[in-house]
Each structure stands twice: as structure tokens, then as C-alpha cells.
């Protein structure tokens, strides 16, 4: 079981990471973990079901903004309240947007999801409801239940946040891995490979795709919630299509055929950002060239160049 050992090693590395690096990198690591969750939620759509969506940021952003609306000014709420709320808001939004978008296929689907994300973007950018174009600060969710709390102050906040992110990422991964092994997951793979034949066999593929879309959206809500927990700030850019495109990139970097691909991709992309900033200010140039290189040279992503590619590929087949 080479893959399980690999994943446990990865988990160990991520868990010990904060102890071996300066404080600044812990926050950076947290940020990478949030990206990883977002990209992983998108992988359910892209790598598993074959649905390429540019609108996934909408669910990420709506969950984050939902926190803004419920958190009292200057105060904080328990994570046991905010997290379920974030998931619910993102899930409902995914149900509505998915029900309409999934009536289309391929290019149309891509464009429609993009357009819906833009709609949500304009909702926050052009109006005052969420603080407008500039964004707004939000009280971070607190780790407390019925008055019992893990106290966080400016010093350990980063560390605590990192481990919450890691725990949620691991939980999300396990949930999706289990989903893939289920009968439902097998249908999604079948839809990716040949949707027409699946329909001919008797599957109402629209319903399966919609359920996958809602689950993926809800999980994106988890990532959005964690963004607020890390950053304490929301703005309309969270919803934009650039963010979804970066998540797609992470999936491609890490490899479409493996569930943990997006996690690799998120780490690689974050690391690239850090390293390149040491060399030049021209971030867009570096990013653009990097994406070009990946698309032209590494169609299977990082997982594709590894020796155990065959075993890994079977995990999502």
C-alpha cells in the first residue's frame, strides 16, 4: 500500500512543519492549506466527474461573506456555529447555481459557471452589502463550545489556525477518498469517461452531477470559512474567476488522476510565489510563464512524473 504510506508521510511533514520554520512561514503554510482545501473541493468536479468549472470561487466567497453577515461587529462567534453555517450557505448556493448550470455541457458549462461567479462578484463589488469593492474586516471564528474555549491571542493564533486547517484538510481528504470508493463515486467516474453511455445504461446523470456539485460547493464553503479564520478579511476578489483558475492550475500541477494532486499543487504554487518574490517583483510574469511551462510540458502534473504513477492512477479510476 505505497500510497497510504506516502500520504501518512505527507501528513507527518505537514504536522511538524510549524516547528521547524520561522513564524511567518506558519501563516504562509496556513494559507497554502486553505488553498489546498479549495482546490481539493474542486477536484471532485474536475478530476473525478469531468466538470471543469470556473465559478467555484462563488461558493468560497459566499461562505466567507456569510460569516461577515452573522458575526457581530467587533465580536466573535463559535466555530461550531460558523462552520456549519458556512457549509450550509455554500451548499445551498451550489444547489441553485448547479441546478441551472448543469443543464449545459462542456464549453457552455464553463462559461455559465464563470458568469454566475461574476454575478456574485458584482453583487458584492457594486453594492454596499458586503463593504463594497474594498472589502471588510470580520471577527475570526473562535474555538469555543458552551463557554469552554481554546484561547487564541496574536501569538499562538497562527499555530492554532494552522492545525485547525490541517485537521479539516485531512478530514476533507478522507471524506472524498471514501466517496470515491462508494457506488456514487463510481458513477461519477463513469460520467467523466463516457456520460452518453451512462445515460444509455439508465443513469440520470444530471442528478448525480448535481449532487457532486453541491458537495463540492459545500466543501469550498469550508475553505472559505477557514480563509476568514486565517485572514479576518473578506473582499469581492475572493469570488472572482482568477481564483478558480488558480485552483484549476493547482489541480493540473498536482495531477488530475490522483485525489491528493490539488494538495501538492497548492503547496507548489504557494512555494513558487514565495521563491519568485525573492528574485523579482514581476509576479504575473513568473506566474504566467510557470503556467505555460506546466501546460506545455507536464500534462500529467507532478504526480505523473513520479515512479508510483500507476498505483496512484488506480485510486480515482
Amino acid at each position: 500500500m505505497g500510497q497510504t504510506r506516502l500520504l501518512l508521510l505527507g501528513l507527518l511533514l505537514l504536522a511538524t512543519f510549524p516547528w521547524v520554520v520561522p513564524n511567518f512561514y506558519v501563516t504562509l503554510g496556513s494559507s497554502a492549506l486553505v488553498w489546498a482545501m479549495f482546490a481539493l473541493s474542486l477536484q471532485l468536479l474536475v478530476g473525478v466527474t469531468g466538470l471543469v468549472s470556473l465559478g467555484h470561487g462563488a461558493f468560497f466567497g459566499l461562505a466567507a461573506y456569510a460569516l461577515y453577515f452573522v458575526t457581530p461587529e467587533g465580536g466573535r462567534l463559535s466555530i461550531f456555529l460558523t462552520l456549519p453555517l458556512a457549509i450550509a450557505v455554500a451548499g445551498v448556493a451550489a444547489l441553485v447555481i448547479g441546478a441551472l448550470s448543469l443543464r449545459t455541457r462542456g464549453f457552455f458549462f464553463l462559461m455559465v459557471t464563470l458568469a454566475f461567479a461574476q454575478m456574485v462578484f458584482f453583487l458584492f463589488h457594486d453594492t454596499d452589502i458586503g463593504g463594497g469593492a474594498d472589502g471588510v474586516f470580520v471577527g475570526r471564528p473562535a474555538l469555543e463550545l458552551f463557554g469552554v474555549a481554546i484561547p487564541t491571542d496574536k501569538h499562538n493564533r497562527g499555530l492554532v489556525g494552522y492545525y485547525v486547517n490541517l485537521a479539516l484538510l485531512a478530514a476533507m481528504y478522507l471524506a472524498l477518498a471514501w466517496l470515491l470508493r462508494s457506488l456514487f463515486g463510481r458513477v461519477l467516474s463513469g460520467i467523466r469517461i463516457n456520460e452518453h453511455r451512462m445515460r444509455a445504461l439508465g443513469y440520470d446523470t444530471y442528478r448525480y452531477k448535481l449532487l457532486a456539485f453541491v458537495i463540492a460547493g459545500a466543501l469550498a464553503g469550508v475553505a472559505g470559512h477557514q480563509w476568514v479564520m486565517n485572514d479576518g478579511f473578506v473582499n469581492p476578489e475572493l469570488v472572482g474567476w482568477h481564483r478558480s483558475a488558480e485552483a484549476l492550475l493547482m489541480i493540473l500541477i498536482g495531477g488530475l488522476g490522483v485525489l491528493y494532486g490539488p494538495i501538492l499543487g497548492a503547496i507548489a504554487w504557494t512555494a513558487l510565489g514565495e521563491i519568485s518574490q525573492l528574485i523579482t517583483d514581476r509576479q504575473l510574469l513568473v506566474q504566467g510563464l510557470f503556467i505555460l511551462a506546466v501546460v506545455l510540458v507536464l500534462p500529467q502534473g507532478l504526480a505523473g512524473i513520479r515512479l508510483w504513477r500507476r498505483k496512484a492512477a488506480e485510486s480515482t479510476a
Binding site: L183, R186, R197, R199, G202
Partner: protein, 250 residues
């Protein structure tokens, strides 16, 4: 006389100005193999597409067990007992052959709360899939990726998938296409067996095979039925011979 599983009345389909299928009346009965023949462009592919739900009728009726179902999409018709195999092999190439058939069995049996059961745990589906593969003679190939099977084996897989959905009517679109003599013989035996407990519609070009297995033939030319009946009647029909089988001899 068993009741018709599938019946069409005045079935018509046009594309713009072109009428591909016109006023076709057809009946499929359990235990009977009904072959549809005709020259290229006769409308046979369009007919099968209409019956499987891949195309919607322009007018006319399609009835399953006497109830009208025209216009229903393919997945609904599949659930009502219509199974179809494709002329251009339409399988899930990157998955093992067994998984292809298992998914077909799941379409029939694995719904609702079962959805979140693990695939490996659903042994009944695996058993059904293995049985279907065995019936078409592919038991030894179950672990191989479907895309790596030979052409003839892929045609067999097509039929296994269709069988696993437990249809009552089988629409077989040129199952023998591209097969060698040995494979053809095996397929003919299989066809006879299938006809015993299904209502089979067969579209084929190989006339020797058609006349060997069919209980009933319908001849189509330019979208219309020009003759329908038992093989001897069709073989001796002057109209058919003229239109399709060749010049009428004196």
C-alpha cells in the same frame, strides 16, 4: 401469443426537409428475434435511435407494454426495460471490463441509500456483472481494461453491459460489425440464446446471419417499411428483391 414489449405506430422522424423515418409500424415480442434490414440510408440507425431515446420522434407513437412513451429520454427508457448496444463501440475504455458491466448492473440495482455503500462491498453487483460476462463468453477478460480488448471482445462487452441492465427488449445495432468468422459464429449462437428470453431487434448487414437467426424481418427503404413478415415470405417477395436484394429474376 405474448404481448408486445415494444411497439411503434406511424413513427416518423424528420430533419429539416429530410424525412429519415416515415410511418414505421413495428412490434417486438419476447421470444422473437426481429431483424430490420435495408440499404444504406434506409433509416435503420435513425429507427434504433428513436427506440432507445437518443432521438425524439417528430410524430407517431412508441409504446412499451401498451403505454405510450414517445419523447422520453434515453435513461428513462433504459429503466423501462429497453437495452441498446451501439454500432460504434460505446464502452468505458479506461475501466476494466468487469467494472463496465458492474456499472451497468448498478444502474438497475444500486440506487437510493445504497449509493454510499463501498463498491467492493456490493458483492451482488459484482456477481451480476460476472454472470453477464460469462453469458457472452468474456469471463476470462474481466480484469483487462476495456480499451485493450480486441474488437470482437469489445462488441461482446457491449452486449454484456446491455444485458446487465436486465432489459426486456434488446436493440442490437450491427453487433457483428468487423468480426471474423469464428467470432461471428459465437455471436450467432449468443443471439439465438438471447432471443429465447428477450424481445430482440437486430439491425445487421450480413444477410446469411440475418436469415439464419431471424424469426421476423422488416425491410426498410428510404425511411419506409416496404415489407414485413417471416423470412420465407421476405425471401420470396419480388418487391423486396427488386428494392434491395438485387435485380428480380424472371
Amino acid at each position: 401469443m405474448s404481448q408486445a414489449v415494444l411497439e411503434t405506430r406511424a413513427l416518423t422522424r424528420s430533419f429539416g426537409g429530410l424525412t429519415a423515418v416515415a410511418q414505421v409500424a413495428l412490434t417486438l415480442v419476447i421470444g422473437e428475434l426481429h431483424a430490420v434490414i435495408g440499404p444504406n440510408g434506409a433509416g435503420k440507425s435513425t429507427l434504433i435511435n428513436l427506440l432507445s431515446g437518443d432521438l425524439r420522434p417528430s410524430s407517431g407513437q412508441i409504446l412499451i407494454d401498451g403505454a405510450s412513451v414517445g419523447g422520453l429520454p434515453a435513461h428513462r427508457l433504459a429503466r423501462l426495460g429497453i437495452g441498446r448496444s451501439y454500432q460504434k463501440t460505446n464502452i468505458l475504455k479506461s475501466l476494466p471490463a468487469l467494472e463496465n458491466v458492474r456499472l451497468a448492473a448498478q444502474a438497475r440495482h444500486g440506487g437510493g441509500r445504497r449509493l454510499f455503500q463501498t463498491a467492493r462491498g456490493a458483492r451482488d453487483l459484482v456477481a451480476l456483472a460476472e454472470a453477464a460476462l460469462a453469458r457472452v463468453g468474456l469471463a476470462s477478460a474481466s480484469d483487462r481494461p476495456a480499451g485493450q480488448l480486441s474488437h470482437g471482445e469489445q462488441r461482446q462487452l457491449e452486449i454484456a453491459m446491455t444485458l446487465a441492465t436486465e432489459p426486456r427488449a434488446l436493440l442490437l445495432d450491427e453487433p457483428l460489425a468487423g468480426m471474423g468468422p469464428e467470432e461471428t459464429e459465437r455471436m450467432v449462437t449468443l443471439l439465438r440464446q438471447l432471443a429465447a428470453d428477450h424481445a430482440v431487434l437486430l439491425v445487421e448487414h450480413d444477410m446469411d446471419v440475418v436469415f439464419a437467426v431471424a424469426d421476423r424481418l422488416t425491410v426498410m427503404v428510404d425511411g419506409r417499411v416496404i415489407a414485413s413478415g417471416p423470412p420465407e415470405m421476405i425471401r420470396s417477395s419480388a418487391a423486396v428483391r427488386e428494392a434491395y436484394l438485387g435485380e428480380a429474376t424472371a
